[in-house]
């Protein structure tokens, strides 16, 4: 089960990175992101099936049970990362090919979110509990960037609808990717200690 998750994490990283590359550089990567996102969903179904099989056969308890529960949550989070990456390329396709989006702002936000995502995958691979605490602070920073952008949109009459809407939507998806990175680190904390870090 863990092996499937590590493969999913690699794939999620590629998928999100590709979508952000498309958003900031204008590269056409929509088809690839869609394929990878569907693959992540398929892998999530595999993890669910495996979890049910393990529960039925072995009636796991204690740490074994927490591992299975956490792995199911993490698989869902990883599939969601793929979905948000797909949603980002959808925005690019739908609104003026993404040309209007505020690339400097999205670049800044992407860097933080990619860092969070990679840290959460590290937490998963080495079962490191402390990373969740680090991500709480980083998640607050990402939330703040998003809120500040929205406030800026309200008070800036010079923004075109295309720029405001495409940037805000992509920023929203980035904010959710950051949330899921934190959920993954939290699931690792629960797996190891039996408690969630809040």
């Amino acid at each position: 089960m863990s092996e499937i998750l590590f493969e999913m994490a690699d794939l999620a990283e590629r998928t999100v990175s590709a979508s952000l590359q498309a958003a900031t550089s204008g590269e056409e990567l929509g088809t690839q992101v869609r394929v990878w996102s569907n693959e992540l969903q398929g892998r999530y179904d595999d993890v669910e099936e495996k979890a049910v099989e393990l529960i039925a056969r072995y009636q796991p308890v204690a740490s074994d049970l927490r591992i299975i529960k956490s792995n199911m949550k993490v698989a869902y989070d990883l599939a969601r990362l793929g979905r948000y990456a797909y949603d980002i390329v959808q925005v690019l396709n739908f609104i003026n090919g993404g040309k209007a989006a505020d690339k400097a702002f999205l670049e800044k936000m992407s860097q933080k979110v990619l860092k969070m995502m990679r840290l959460s995958f590290t937490a998963l691979r080495i079962r490191e509990v402390g990373i969740a605490r680090q991500l709480i602070e980083m998640d607050s920073e990402v939330d703040q960037l998003y809120r500040d952008y929205l406030k800026g949109v309200m008070s800036n009459p010079h923004l075109t609808p295309a720029e405001a809407v495409s940037t805000a939507l992509i920023a929203r998806h980035l904010e959710r990717i950051a949330d899921h990175a934190w959920y993954i680190a939290q699931a690792v904390s629960y797996m190891v200690t039996g408690t969630y870090i809040v």
Binding site: V61, A62, S63, D64, L65, R66, G194, T195
Partner: protein, 252 residues
Amino acid sequence: MKRSKIETRGLSLWFGQKQVLDNVDLNILENSITAIMGPSGCGKSTLIRVFNRMNDIIPDCNVTGSVFLDGEDVYSPSVDVVALRMRVGMVFQKPNPFPKSIYDNVAFGLRIQKRTSKEETDKVVEESLRGAALWDEVKDRLKDSALELSGGQQQRLCIARALAVKPEVVLMDEPCSALDPSATAKIEALMAELKKNYTVVVVTHNMQQAARVSDYTAFLYLGKVVEYGLTDQIFENPTNKLTENYITGRFG
């Protein structure tokens, strides 16, 4: 907030030179099911036999510390052991009905108490068999021999027999280990009903059973209580590494 029904403080027990229980502090709450689990030879059966002083019949058995039932010390010299064993009933691993009729099995304890009125005996026999979820299956053949019943039915008959003398606590020593899964399921469902009116303590080897039926679980190892707490917590996130290793099957 549940009251304490049975409490042990510093309970230690020896058979001759061999120490079997070591400083056990346990608080069994009323109207709950408490599972006692642990590897073979850890003292589980010995522990529950302390509650109704069944260990008294074993020569060279020495007990130190205290055992309280409703706040009264069961090892006090003034305690009537026979009366204690009516308050704290027991069901054993292998069903052991008497070689008598179904009716006479259940009525036996009442007759010893000298409750001989036929009407009252009939009433108590029916109540006890209903309490053991056996009445519907045997009501038309109460005169048949108990030995003709299936294993699961015999075990429920033994439970009815224990209930007939109106206990407050029912001790069960691996009550399902000689039964098939279907009979086991019936006994487990019965335990959930019993706890409404009685305090149930069950010794079990079967961890999944402990997890299914009990509210509280105690893990015993080499005569010591390693961990005791809510079953949900013990099976999701045990505090002690030894408990974790036992319930995940890494030893035992």
